[in-house]
Symmetry: C2
Subunit: 352 residues, 2 copies
């Protein structure tokens, strides 16, 4: 079924069919009606390859993710897809998976004109390191950075105020009476990590608490790194009374390890998360965390990209509001100034 068939049936030229679809107002009502009828009768659907070849547009958007299997991205993707769908765009997902070859592949893919624009969730431009080194990205299509800002790039950034949110959580912990607040970090070099760490320090300062490097635990946002940090904590003779985990997944892994070692949350140690993923509310205990409007973040990024794609002006930076969600994993420290006894009861952990 080609445009010619429709044209013949409607007794007009192929140009008129094309116009009836793209710019209906430039076609007489009668011709338009006949075309529409013919389309309905034939079930004609334009061939996208031909259209793309001629118009140099693909109506496809690339979404670049560092890790598709990370729970955090699911709702964001949904938000993106919704807006894109409404505007008639399709979504291609590229899961970088830490592989340079994949990144190169998608860079070529993009350069080859298979997509009209891209949403970057991985914190850097194609071919660049996070620090902005490497080849300047000469990808000649609209780009939007989502969640992980790319400071070196002059593209719209859609994000939350990570620093303010981390500050807020730290102060919440401090105002609950905690004075030794540990920080479970994200991966070194990560933009989010940098901002959140700054926020942690801000919060400490605002609460008049000293910064203690020994209370900074290395993590990478995964459940496993939360489990590791928990094992570290369990082994210590002097423990913090609260741990601010910069992802919910780490917080859940951490709590699990603490609980297995016989420590109680929040009685013995308070735990806070970041993101408010679905499982945060049903963790045991329910996790106090920072809520990120994930779906809205996705929708907003898609909306901005669509604006760009259609030549409309777009804001350079959008920051969506976060919310402090208070649940059950944070409480006042019960034994302030009392030396914590080393746990004796220790149960093996079986993380698959």
């Amino acid at each position: 079924m080609r445009i010619q068939d429709v044209a013949k049936l409607a007794d007009v030229s192929t140009a008129t069919v094309s116009r009836a679809l793209a710019t209906p107002e430039r076609v007489s009502p009668e011709a338009r009606a006949r075309v529409l009828e013919a389309i309905a009768k034939t079930g004609y659907v334009p061939n996208p390859a031909a259209r793309s070849l001629r118009s140099q547009k693909t109506y496809m958007v690339l979404v670049v993710l560092p890790d598709l299997s990370n729970t955090f991205f699911s709702k964001i993707l949904r938000g993106i897809e919704e807006r894109l769908f409404e505007a008639g765009y399709g979504m291609i997902i590229s899961d970088l998976d830490g592989s340079p070859e994949k990144e190169a592949h998608f860079a070529a893919f993009t350069a080859a004109g298979r997509v009209d624009g891209a949403i970057l969730l991985n914190g850097h431009l194609f071919g660049q390191t996070r620090e902005g080194e490497g080849m300047p990205a000469k990808i000649g299509i609209p780009l939007v950075a989502l969640c992980e800002a790319i400071p070196s790039a002059d593209i719209p950034q859609i994000e939350i105020d990570n620093r303010a949110a981390a500050n807020r959580m730290t102060q919440h912990l401090a105002s609950s009476g905690h004075r030794r607040i540990a920080y479970l970090s994200g991966p070194a070099g990560n933009v989010l990590e940098k901002e959140r760490f700054l926020g942690y320090r801000d919060g400490l300062k605002a609460a008049g608490l000293p910064f203690d490097p020994a209370l900074v635990l290395p993590g990478d946002y995964t459940i496993e790194s939360g489990v590791k940090a928990g094992q570290d904590l369990v082994a210590r003779s002097t423990r913090p009374t609260a741990v601010f985990c910069t992802s919910d997944e780490m917080a859940i892994g951490l709590m699990r390890t603490l609980l297995s070692a016989g420590l109680k949350v929040p009685e013995d140690i308070s735990v806070a998360g970041f993101d408010d993923i679905e499982f945060a509310a049903v963790a045991e205990p329910a996790l106090t965390t920072i809520h990120q409007p994930r779906r809205e973040l996705g929708q907003m990024a898609a909306a901005v990209l669509i604006d760009l794609l259609q030549g409309r002006p777009s804001p350079k930076r959008i920051r969506l509001e976060t919310e402090l969600i208070i649940r059950d994993s944070v409480a006042s420290p019960q034994n302030i100034e009392k030396a914590p006894a080393k746990s004796t009861r220790t149960r093996a952990i079986k993380p698959t």
Copy 2:
């Protein structure tokens, strides 16, 4: 940068350039070398729209999901993407989100030839209900059903043996001494649900236990439905000693509700899940469940589809092995034959 530029630079015809890329063996080594050099020099990337228009292929595969934000799919997607990537195919994801319009859109999308094949995870063909009613899908491209089999369709099915797995778990519970084993179901009509329910009945029968309809709780695989089922259970005067949840998400929601109501898992009530998602191992208590090889399922489906796409023969049905993962959420019932006391201590639940 077009094929012509490369041809000129390599001093060959465009056809030779095209062949050097597609069928190198049909080009003389010298010509091939010159072409490759010219490509390297110019950074030429073929225009996919032109190629697609001419060859009637898109090198794109559609993956149809019922719900992108469901944790269960993430690793499967990764498996699919890996194999597809290796074979040079791109992946377009369609999140149906229960919307008939979206489904119609993607059906048209597919009919328009934007993809060479599709992997269906939603349990039915485009335009069909799950029961096989509706328009026969005349989508003229290779299709593969993954996880949710589509019995009415004559396409390859990649899945696990849901019935056998459910049977196994039920018997595991029975062999732990449980005689009142509840079943938290999936959505009515769902293929997986049907199979797992059959397996539950099989297991009951094998263990010589009677089937009690009052022990079948309605669910839909979501955390929320697990929470609901938990509230139902908490309110009962006579409770089952074990609950077989047909998804980990429900199991986690259920355990959370039970725990909040002061019931202990597994001491007061055992809970088992299905899927072995990442959070199962760090749930409190760690969840006994059925492990599904999610990544492998995805890889297998992609591999079968690629075979189909490239004209190779493919198996009609592949069943991957599951595994019973024993953790801490199942134990022998402690108070057999003792009437369970109604819980008095009840704490409010705050699901988000």
